[in-house]
Symmetry: C2
Subunit: 144 residues, 2 copies
């Protein structure tokens, strides 16, 4: 990977295709993932091509984790999950992003990690209606 | 779960058995996980029984994520992984902790998430020697 900031050619997070954007800020954006069996699975994506959390400076890290925490709290308020899961992996797609995932007893593989085999792919909520609801709830996030 | 702070009876992170502690602070501790096939897999465990990241206030969250970032940077410096993975799941054990996991092409299931099936359980490094090395490197972390 040549660039650690700016844009990396060929990176799917630098040049996204069909993202369902819920909120967009100067430094990061929130999208609703398309993950059948997991209602409300969101991602917070750092806009610049940064590889690791520790590549951010303290103020940037504070901003990102503030957005993650507020998104987590919004999803708890909106959906009352049993537990929240957070993860920044990116082993095959090394552009900093946090998965923010509400877990329900009815989800695809509760209580196992979401990356284990899905036992079903049934979502309970209408994805478009959920996106609209979360967009409204996330309007108060700080843009920068 | 009755308590969100303090100690929760029956929680394995409140009353740990055989943790390999690398560093201990007033608010959180760092342990070397026992995960065959994954060299250097660490956990940062919040000492009090807190459920979600968003249950911390901003200063606490900043402290925790500062420790996570410094641990990540220490592991990168010590082991030169291909990528770092971070995750706070706890679906079955809801006591706030972050997995901080160096990923290598030789690890148990690279580049898949560590929670998918392990294709082998071979560690390359001696665990006790690695623990000593990381303990030395983590001495500079801020205790509070």
């Amino acid at each position: 990977m040549i660039f650690t900031r700016g844009i990396s050619v060929g990176c799917g997070y630098c040049a996204p295709g069909n993202e369902t954007v819920l909120w967009r800020g100067d430094k990061c954006r929130v999208i609703l993932a398309d993950e059948p069996g997991f209602d409300g699975w969101c991602r917070v994506i750092w806009n610049e091509h940064v590889r690791e959390l520790s590549d951010l400076d303290e103020a940037e890290r504070g901003h990102l984790m503030g957005i993650v925490a507020k998104l987590e709290r919004t999803l708890i308020g909106a959906l009352q999950p049993v537990k929240m899961n957070l993860a920044a992996l990116g082993t095959a797609a090394p552009h900093l992003h946090f998965h923010v995932i509400p877990r329900f007893e009815t989800d695809a593989n509760f209580p196992d990690p979401v990356w284990t085999e899905r036992r079903h792919r049934n979502s309970r909520l209408d994805r478009n209606a959920l996106a609209d609801r979360l967009r409204d709830a996330l309007q108060a996030l700080p843009v920068s």
